[in-house]
């Protein structure tokens, strides 16, 4: 047996014979490079088979299919509210990650009641010393507000176009969970700078939790780290805001949009 490599399929020669644009050549070269190493063509084929098995074909758009041309166009922008929620969420995620470089979730450093804490000071640092920091906080805050607004309006559009009816109940329920989590996202972020209103908003949160019978005290301990506010509260809100909620909300959004993809947008008629 010869050790010399016997390339039966000379893909590169095939590529050269083709009359291709630069983009096509680059794409094919990359594809061949990866495929020689990982044999991804098998997986792509598998994916393709699954795609057709699941009968996910590109349908005509609604306006085409139902010939709704002039009855429907003025509602159309409202159908982008879900995507705009995602967009605002992305902006908040990016700006939030950058704020995270400078923020420290600690109530240390206050000599007397009412003195600035480390958390407060780190936000002051962002506002005053960090290049572009003032704008960054502004963007993060506004992105959050845009997201909440978009989600509210998205819910209204789904309601008033009757898009929640069978078979989309599950997505509606998922949406209710998502709007709750979005609001909690905002709330936990509001607490982080540990300013007066943060503190007292959190205080109201604890009081609400404690007023609930049976599960109340447990919930207060889980979410706020105790019955009075302090370091534990801040760290819990921090972890919820930058770790737990991002994961949960991102996966739920993926599921939500995945279901929309499989079910299609509710046809307006």
């Amino acid at each position: 047996m010869s050790l010399k490599k016997n390339d039966e399929m000379d893909h590169n020669a095939w590529l050269k014979n083709q009359d291709l644009t630069v983009i096509e050549t680059a794409f094919l070269t990359t594809l061949i490079w990866v495929d020689k190493r990982l044999r991804i063509v098998d997986y792509l084929e598998l994916l393709e088979t699954m795609y057709y098995r699941a009968n996910l074909q590109m349908p005509k758009s609604h306006t085409e299919q139902y010939d709704l041309d002039n009855k429907f166009w003025y509602w159309y922008p409202l159908y982008s509210l879900g995507s705009l929620s995602i967009l605002a969420y992305l902006v908040a995620a990016v700006s939030g990650a950058m704020l995270g470089f400078y923020y420290s979730p600690s109530t240390a450093g206050a000599a007397a009641q009412g003195d600035p804490t480390a958390a407060y000071d780190s936000v002051v640092l962002i506002l005053q010393d960090v290049q572009f920091g003032f704008m960054l906080r502004s963007i993060h805050s506004w992105a959050a507000q845009f997201m909440v607004a978009a989600v509210f309006l998205h819910m209204l559009r789904v309601y008033f176009t009757g898009a929640y009816k069978e078979p989309r109940e599950v997505n509606w329920i998922l949406g209710v969970v998502l709007i709750g989590l979005t609001l909690f996202f905002g709330f936990s972020g509001y607490v982080l700078p540990w300013k007066q209103l943060s503190f007292w908003a959190a205080q109201i949160g604890v009081e609400m939790a404690l007023a609930t019978p049976i599960v109340g005290e447990w919930a207060a301990q889980l979410l706020f780290g105790g019955f009075t506010l302090g370091q534990a509260t801040l760290v819990r809100m921090y972890i919820l805001h930058v770790f737990v909620l991002p994961f949960v909300v991102t996966s739920l959004i993926a599921l939500h949009v995945g279901i929309v993809w499989v079910q299609g947008i509710a046809e307006p008629h």
Binding site: S141, Q145, I173, L183, F199
Partner: protein
């Protein structure tokens, strides 16, 4: 290289000596793998029901597909590139642009550091939680729910929490209460009215949360909080009912042109 008859040990040809105890690890040949229909026949109970249901739904899909006038997209309509892509990019950049513009124009306020010792005169969350905050200020309603010697039955805060439960619960229940294929508000004036009531209620509750800013009495505000939404609901209902006749004629014509009755 290795044939099944080739000895795998150091010279011996004894079949028993080939492996270290277990049977040879072979994949069963294809014709021994049961087909789906064989599996169905072999199964029973829940598994069989599952197969039966799958078959039914397959058949349903198949029927729908053969019956439907549904045309797969060819070149009709806007292509994804460049039309849709550019439109989406335009919407997305406008949105992000506005976001950055407003951030630059109206940076958020930054208040004093937390002081557990002094309660501020006005505690407010961000605007999007005003409605929720309003629900916590329903205590003027609470005594009316009281029985037994005017003792309040529920703590004021717990009343607020129950109110939250009712709001979220009601929203979650909507798809199970309102069924049918109607989509447009004119087709179902009642549900549009319910929606408007909800929207206005969320606004009036927000107003209740910032009650200090209103120059009139709290009682009046609480009354308005519930009266205005109902009023708006009634108006919506009346307007849609009036519009309905003419509108539905058009809608039905269009609808039955698309799906002629069987």
């Amino acid at each position: 290289m290795t044939d099944d008859n080739d000895p795998m040990t150091d010279g011996g040809t004894d079949e028993e000596a080939r492996t270290d105890g277990g049977p040879p690890a072979t994949v069963p040949p294809d014709d021994e793998t049961p087909t789906w229909s064989e599996r169905k026949e072999n199964s029973q109970g829940l598994a069989q029901l599952t197969y039966q249901y799958f078959e039914r739904s397959r058949r349903e899909d198949e029927d729908l597909r053969t019956e439907s006038t549904y045309v797969e997209r060819d070149v009709l309509g806007f292509p994804a590139w460049p039309h849709e892509t550019i439109r989406n990019l335009a919407i997305a950049s406008f949105f992000v642009g506005m976001l950055i513009f407003i951030s630059a124009l109206m940076p958020p306020h930054f208040g004093h550091p937390a002081n557990p010792g002094s309660t501020p005169a006005i505690i407010l969350p961000d605007w999007y939680l005003y409605w929720s905050f309003g629900l916590l200020k329903l205590n003027p309603l609470n005594p009316e729910l009281a029985v037994l010697d005017g003792n309040i039955l529920l703590g004021n805060e717990f009343l607020g929490i129950i109110a939250h439960g009712i709001v979220f619960g009601a929203i979650a229940l909507v798809p199970f209460l309102n069924k049918g294929s109607a989509r447009r508000p004119v087709e179902e004036p009642f549900w549009a009215a319910v929606g408007m009531t909800g929207v206005v209620l969320s606004l009036t509750l927000a107003a209740l949360a910032i009650q200090n800013f209103f120059p009139f009495e709290l009682d009046l505000l609480v009354t308005l909080t519930f009266l205005l939404p109902v009023l708006c609901g009634i108006i919506t209902y009346a307007v849609l009912k009036t519009m309905r006749e003419g509108y539905m004629y058009d809608l039905n014509r269009r609808y039955y042109m698309l799906r002629p009755p069987k």
